[in-house]
Protein backbone atom coordinates (compact mmCIF):
# COMPACT_ATOMS: atom_id res chain seq x y z
CA UNK A 1 0.00 0.00 0.00
CA UNK A 2 2.74 2.39 1.01
CA UNK A 3 4.63 1.60 -2.20
CA UNK A 4 1.54 2.31 -4.27
CA UNK A 5 1.02 5.63 -2.50
CA UNK A 6 4.68 6.55 -3.01
CA UNK A 7 4.37 5.71 -6.69
CA UNK A 8 1.26 7.87 -6.89
CA UNK A 9 3.18 10.76 -5.30
CA UNK A 10 6.08 10.38 -7.73
CA UNK A 11 3.82 10.27 -10.78
CA UNK A 12 1.64 13.21 -9.72
CA UNK A 13 4.51 15.45 -8.58
CA UNK A 14 6.45 14.68 -11.76
CA UNK A 15 3.43 15.57 -13.88
CA UNK A 16 3.05 18.78 -11.89
CA UNK A 17 6.71 19.63 -12.45
CA UNK A 18 6.22 19.06 -16.18
CA UNK A 19 3.38 21.58 -16.19
CA UNK A 20 5.65 24.09 -14.48
CA UNK A 21 8.24 23.45 -17.16
CA UNK A 22 5.57 23.87 -19.82
CA UNK A 23 4.41 27.10 -18.21
CA UNK A 24 7.94 28.48 -18.24
CA UNK A 25 8.55 27.46 -21.84
CA UNK A 26 5.24 29.06 -22.79
CA UNK A 27 6.13 32.24 -20.93
CA UNK A 28 9.44 32.46 -22.77
CA UNK A 29 8.38 31.29 -26.24
CA UNK A 30 4.80 32.48 -26.83
CA UNK A 31 4.53 35.51 -29.10
CA UNK A 32 2.39 38.00 -27.15
CA UNK A 33 1.23 38.84 -23.66
CA UNK A 34 -2.26 37.35 -23.89
CA UNK A 35 -0.97 33.92 -24.98
CA UNK A 36 1.76 34.04 -22.32
CA UNK A 37 -0.98 34.63 -19.78
CA UNK A 38 -2.48 31.36 -20.96
CA UNK A 39 0.78 29.52 -20.24
CA UNK A 40 1.00 31.04 -16.77
CA UNK A 41 -2.48 29.97 -15.69
CA UNK A 42 -1.76 26.40 -16.75
CA UNK A 43 1.16 26.25 -14.36
CA UNK A 44 -0.94 27.90 -11.65
CA UNK A 45 -3.89 25.56 -11.86
CA UNK A 46 -2.57 22.23 -13.10
CA UNK A 47 1.06 22.33 -11.99
CA UNK A 48 0.35 23.33 -8.42
CA UNK A 49 -2.79 21.15 -8.37
CA UNK A 50 -0.88 18.03 -9.37
CA UNK A 51 1.88 18.77 -6.85
CA UNK A 52 -0.73 19.15 -4.10
CA UNK A 53 -2.48 15.95 -5.23
CA UNK A 54 0.80 14.09 -5.13
CA UNK A 55 1.67 15.42 -1.68
CA UNK A 56 -1.66 14.38 -0.12
CA UNK A 57 -0.59 10.78 0.69
CA UNK A 58 2.61 12.11 2.29
CA UNK A 59 0.90 14.71 4.51
CA UNK A 60 0.24 13.50 8.02
CA UNK A 61 -2.80 14.70 9.90
CA UNK A 62 -6.16 15.65 8.34
CA UNK A 63 -5.01 19.22 8.98
CA UNK A 64 -2.09 18.69 6.62
CA UNK A 65 -4.56 17.73 3.87
CA UNK A 66 -6.80 20.69 4.59
CA UNK A 67 -3.79 23.03 4.45
CA UNK A 68 -2.57 21.65 1.13
CA UNK A 69 -6.00 21.80 -0.48
CA UNK A 70 -6.52 25.32 0.90
CA UNK A 71 -3.28 26.44 -0.75
CA UNK A 72 -4.44 25.05 -4.09
CA UNK A 73 -7.90 26.63 -3.83
CA UNK A 74 -6.33 29.99 -2.96
CA UNK A 75 -3.95 29.64 -5.92
CA UNK A 76 -6.92 28.83 -8.20
CA UNK A 77 -8.78 31.92 -7.02
CA UNK A 78 -5.83 34.26 -7.38
CA UNK A 79 -4.74 32.67 -10.67
CA UNK A 80 -8.18 33.24 -12.18
CA UNK A 81 -8.30 36.82 -10.90
CA UNK A 82 -4.78 37.63 -12.03
CA UNK A 83 -5.57 36.29 -15.51
CA UNK A 84 -8.61 38.57 -15.79
CA UNK A 85 -6.89 41.64 -14.35
CA UNK A 86 -3.75 41.42 -16.47
CA UNK A 87 -5.73 40.57 -19.61
CA UNK A 88 -7.86 43.65 -19.03
CA UNK A 89 -4.76 45.75 -18.53
CA UNK A 90 -3.02 44.65 -21.74
CA UNK A 91 -6.08 44.42 -23.96
CA UNK A 92 -5.68 46.74 -26.96
CA UNK A 93 -7.99 49.78 -26.64
CA UNK A 94 -9.49 49.10 -30.09
CA UNK A 95 -11.21 46.00 -28.71
CA UNK A 96 -13.09 48.07 -26.18
CA UNK A 97 -14.18 50.55 -28.82
CA UNK A 98 -15.34 47.79 -31.13
CA UNK A 99 -17.46 46.36 -28.36
CA UNK A 100 -18.91 49.53 -26.88
CA UNK A 101 -18.70 52.34 -29.43
CA UNK A 102 -19.44 55.10 -26.91
CA UNK A 103 -16.73 54.05 -24.47
CA UNK A 104 -14.19 56.80 -24.10
CA UNK A 105 -10.57 55.71 -24.44
CA UNK A 106 -9.62 58.25 -21.75
CA UNK A 107 -9.18 56.55 -18.44
CA UNK A 108 -8.16 53.24 -19.88
CA UNK A 109 -4.98 51.92 -18.32
CA UNK A 110 -3.47 51.19 -21.72
CA UNK A 111 -1.61 54.33 -22.49
CA UNK A 112 1.12 53.54 -25.01
CA UNK A 113 4.53 52.80 -23.64
CA UNK A 114 7.46 54.31 -25.46
CA UNK A 115 10.47 53.66 -23.28
CA UNK A 116 10.41 49.90 -22.94
CA UNK A 117 13.42 49.27 -25.14
CA UNK A 118 16.12 49.36 -22.53
Amino acid sequence: MSLALDLFTIVAVTLGAIFFLAGTVGLLRFPDTLTRLHALTKADNLGLGLVVLGLLPQATAPFGWIGLIAVWLLALLSGATVGQLLAEAVRPPEWDQARTPDASPVGHPNAPEASSHD
Binding site: L27, P31, A43, L86, S115
Partner: protein, 105 residues
Protein backbone atom coordinates in the same frame (compact mmCIF):
# COMPACT_ATOMS: atom_id res chain seq x y z
CA UNK B 1 10.95 9.77 -0.95
CA UNK B 2 12.44 12.78 0.81
CA UNK B 3 15.19 13.01 -1.80
CA UNK B 4 12.60 12.88 -4.60
CA UNK B 5 10.47 15.63 -3.04
CA UNK B 6 13.51 17.86 -2.51
CA UNK B 7 14.66 17.21 -6.08
CA UNK B 8 11.20 18.07 -7.39
CA UNK B 9 11.26 21.32 -5.37
CA UNK B 10 14.65 22.23 -6.82
CA UNK B 11 13.47 21.36 -10.36
CA UNK B 12 10.32 23.49 -10.13
CA UNK B 13 12.24 26.38 -8.63
CA UNK B 14 14.85 26.11 -11.37
CA UNK B 15 12.29 26.13 -14.19
CA UNK B 16 10.30 29.10 -12.88
CA UNK B 17 13.54 30.95 -12.20
CA UNK B 18 14.33 30.55 -15.91
CA UNK B 19 11.10 32.40 -16.53
CA UNK B 20 12.70 35.43 -14.88
CA UNK B 21 14.36 36.03 -18.26
CA UNK B 22 10.99 37.62 -19.08
CA UNK B 23 11.75 40.28 -16.47
CA UNK B 24 14.91 41.19 -18.36
CA UNK B 25 13.39 41.00 -21.83
CA UNK B 26 9.96 42.43 -21.16
CA UNK B 27 8.89 43.78 -23.60
CA UNK B 28 5.99 45.17 -21.60
CA UNK B 29 5.69 45.47 -17.88
CA UNK B 30 2.74 43.07 -17.94
CA UNK B 31 5.15 40.37 -19.19
CA UNK B 32 7.43 41.12 -16.26
CA UNK B 33 4.46 40.78 -13.93
CA UNK B 34 3.69 37.39 -15.48
CA UNK B 35 7.21 36.19 -14.66
CA UNK B 36 6.79 37.36 -11.06
CA UNK B 37 3.46 35.54 -10.83
CA UNK B 38 4.96 32.33 -12.19
CA UNK B 39 7.80 32.61 -9.70
CA UNK B 40 5.22 33.03 -6.94
CA UNK B 41 3.29 29.90 -7.93
CA UNK B 42 6.50 27.90 -8.35
CA UNK B 43 7.69 29.17 -4.97
CA UNK B 44 4.46 27.96 -3.36
CA UNK B 45 4.90 24.51 -4.93
CA UNK B 46 8.54 24.35 -3.84
CA UNK B 47 7.67 25.41 -0.28
CA UNK B 48 4.92 22.79 -0.03
CA UNK B 49 7.32 20.09 -1.27
CA UNK B 50 10.00 21.30 1.13
CA UNK B 51 7.55 21.43 4.04
CA UNK B 52 6.32 17.86 3.50
CA UNK B 53 9.83 16.53 2.78
CA UNK B 54 11.36 18.03 5.93
CA UNK B 55 8.25 17.66 8.10
CA UNK B 56 8.47 21.31 9.17
CA UNK B 57 4.86 22.47 9.07
CA UNK B 58 5.65 26.17 9.27
CA UNK B 59 7.41 26.03 5.88
CA UNK B 60 4.11 24.98 4.30
CA UNK B 61 2.53 27.91 6.14
CA UNK B 62 4.85 30.31 4.31
CA UNK B 63 3.51 28.68 1.12
CA UNK B 64 -0.05 29.29 2.32
CA UNK B 65 0.82 32.94 2.94
CA UNK B 66 2.32 33.31 -0.55
CA UNK B 67 -0.75 31.68 -2.11
CA UNK B 68 -3.08 33.92 -0.12
CA UNK B 69 -1.32 37.09 -1.27
CA UNK B 70 -0.42 35.80 -4.77
CA UNK B 71 -2.89 38.10 -6.52
CA UNK B 72 -1.67 41.22 -4.73
CA UNK B 73 1.22 41.92 -7.04
CA UNK B 74 -1.10 41.99 -10.04
CA UNK B 75 -3.76 43.97 -8.19
CA UNK B 76 -1.07 46.54 -7.39
CA UNK B 77 0.08 46.39 -11.00
CA UNK B 78 -3.28 47.17 -12.55
CA UNK B 79 -4.11 49.78 -9.91
CA UNK B 80 -0.84 51.57 -10.56
CA UNK B 81 -1.26 51.24 -14.33
CA UNK B 82 -4.75 52.70 -14.13
CA UNK B 83 -3.46 55.59 -12.07
CA UNK B 84 -0.62 56.28 -14.49
CA UNK B 85 -3.01 56.66 -17.40
CA UNK B 86 -5.11 59.11 -15.40
CA UNK B 87 -2.28 61.27 -14.12
CA UNK B 88 -2.73 64.94 -15.02
CA UNK B 89 0.29 64.95 -17.34
CA UNK B 90 -0.69 61.68 -18.99
CA UNK B 91 -1.78 63.32 -22.22
CA UNK B 92 1.57 64.94 -22.83
CA UNK B 93 3.83 63.68 -25.59
CA UNK B 94 6.53 62.52 -23.17
CA UNK B 95 5.28 58.99 -23.59
CA UNK B 96 6.73 57.42 -20.47
CA UNK B 97 3.35 57.03 -18.82
CA UNK B 98 1.22 53.95 -19.12
CA UNK B 99 2.80 51.01 -17.58
CA UNK B 100 0.83 47.95 -18.43
CA UNK B 101 0.74 48.03 -22.18
CA UNK B 102 3.20 45.87 -24.01
CA UNK B 103 4.84 46.91 -27.21
CA UNK B 104 3.38 45.46 -30.39
CA UNK B 105 5.77 42.83 -31.66
Amino acid sequence: MTAFLLGAAAFILGTVALGLVRILRGPGNADRMLAAQLLGTGGVAALLLLGVATGVGSVSEVGLLLALLAAFGSVAFVTGAGRASEAPAADSAAGTQGAARSEPE
